[in-house]
Assembly symmetry: none
Homo-oligomer: 210 residues x 4
DNA sequence: TATGAATGAGTCTTCATTCAT
DNA sequence: GATGAATGAAGACTCATTCAT
């Protein structure tokens, strides 16, 4: 009956509840998989009623969207820190990879949402500036490193960047999705992995053909 | 008036309909993701009624199971062919990677089930000998190649195999999960990716340290 | 396209199949209960296809109807045999009760249909002269026995007949509906039951009051 | 998006709706038989939607279970009252029978569920302490009376108790299932029935043989 | 006569969402 | 902000029945 005042709630002291919902949802998504978590599950875990969710989020998907967005923000910050540390391109490449893998290991839920979950409605339902900016930002940093190493920035560099991203992502994804696989000691594996990636890049720079 | 009791036919004249259903389901799974495909969807796409599916499959999950099984069989066969082709270890490594990526691209849903899904229902509901045998078989082949290159088979070789698997998986997973990303031309990317992986390995073999 | 010749099949050499179906259905009804037997179950047990049933019966319910009709016929015949066996009224009473209980035990589904179901569809879908005739015939025989014992036929005799019918029915109904109850040995229970019923009747005849 | 996990509420303000559903279901079960009543039927009769039932009952069978449980509770209370009234064994037998028949006549629906309906899933799905306790309790009281009359408690007494239960049940069941039968005046019939049962028992006690 | 294939109606159940309070 | 109650749409699955062959 009111309808006045536009539609600005979504904030206020209730921001706490919103955060609580987000945190709970993130935990549930990680535990049971996004597809098996329902609004009822979330509401019950938070300790509120199902309809109450709609006081904080317009739709159920919005919860995932918000988590997705935040995940990208965190990752962006880590990248920024890494890139601020000046050093040789090769070292920056390793540092970037370490930051990426650390993020994936520390925040597997966010990593999952950001890079592993398909059908990320958060990438479709809106501009999603943060995600795009982060992705492109990080990717841009990678491209910059490669360009610096190669002395030029062309389609070949883009391909190399994509390949390297894929390699790093591969380890992150498998560590998350297959935790029971008999992996060798993790830190050693990471260092070996990043080292081989760097070596592969350098070899390719030295001898483009083959 | 219920109480099923097992069912006789499960076989039309040569099971043409069954194959048609499987093919359609595979296409729909690839298009919309397994979780978003229902029996209704499949039936409509095949041009039959929902209950008719149950003349060919006892349960809805059986469709996915059958596809899963076939997918692993295909992967296994591809690996076998690749490994039969005698050549240098480096070439076999590339061929193995190509077979792996081809499989992922041709059968994204099967690849998803096999390596990307975290709660792979098809790995729980049954013995799933084929999946296990395939996975371990492929990994064993990779280790054998590395051992051949290094002249020894130790924990370091295991780590390298894990790293390489991760790199190849990474590209497969991203191509599947992020099809809208502005990838460079696919075949070139694959060749570059596998080449860099091989180069990284060779570089590491030549100069273990760093 | 034919439509000629009226609609008289239902007989001929195929009567054998029809009998086979009826026998199988009766067995299945007894085994799993009418509510859990489907046309598929029957067809499979007979070894024919589901649609073939419809060559012998217009509808699935017709199978039950036919069995119902036959059941009453059988019951009527048993009663007739029992009553032909001349003997003392007390012995005829016991014999009648035995025939009744034997029928209930041999053909629980028919007994169910006849006396336990409250919404007996087979009593609605047609005149069902046989059922009525049988029921009244048996009850009449019971009244006749009592009248013979008492030397008169009045309302008191009617009440006694109703009471005795109820007692016999009670055992039949419980044996059918509660097969898992820890009954004592069945034949002994039946003999005791009928004996007590007869004794109760005789005691009442000897000393009407109390 | 599935995976139930237990449910909180199950209780409206005093559970009025729940009671309404139970009452309606009880009526429908009585009218059409449990097997022919579906969730749709119940929901429509209550005036709510099908899914709403699941806010009050976890599963469709739970409705029948609850009714079953309540019926037994009522019966148990009546028995307890009767057995508290001390008197001769013969009088207690009559009183027990009257209580049993009164219950059947007053609450035909509950009696139906408790003793007449077959396939009582309520007896399978769960411990069903109440039902068991009631049944065994009443039956134990009957056995105690018989043991008192006979001066001993053996298998013969068990058989007599079963026979008497069957006789009483028989009248209850027929009065409920065949209300249109031309019964004699009800109270007179009941007294005659119980009297003959008692007489039959006493006769048997006096002259065990025959 | 018989059948393989198919189907509309109906079963129970769960989902995200809304509305009056 | 929050909630109890309710719902339309959809999920998988089974039924008796029909039709072209």
């Amino acid at each position: 009956m009111a309808e006045a005042m536009g539609d600005t709630p979504r904030r206020g002291r209730g921001g706490e509840r919103r955060e609580e919902i987000l945190a709970t949802a993130l935990r549930l998504f990680a535990q049971h998989g996004m597809a098996h978590v329902t609004t009822r599950t979330i509401a019950r875990a938070v300790g509120i009623s199902q309809p109450s969710l709609y006081a904080h989020f317009r739709t159920a998907a919005e919860i995932g969207d918000e988590l997705c967005r935040r995940g990208f923000e965190v990752l962006q910050q880590r990248f920024a820190e890494v890139l601020r540390g000046g050093s040789t391109p090769g070292e920056r490449l390793l540092a970037l990879g370490r930051a990426y893998l650390d993020f994936a290991i520390d925040q597997p839920d966010l990593y999952r949402i950001a890079f592993m979950l398909e059908d990320p409605e958060c990438l479709e339902s809106g501009p999603d500036d943060v995600a795009m900016a982060t992705g492109l930002g990080a990717f841009g940093a990678l491209r910059a490193i490669i360009a610096e190493l190669r002395g030029t920035d062309d389609a070949e560099g883009e391909a190399m960047a994509q390949s390297i991203w894929a390699s790093v992502h591969g380890l992150a994804a498998l560590l998350i999705a297959r935790p029971l696989f008999p992996w060798v000691e993790r830190q050693a594996l990471i260092e070996l992995h990043l080292g081989m990636i760097r070596d592969g890049l350098l070899a390719r720079l030295a001898r483009p053909a083959t």
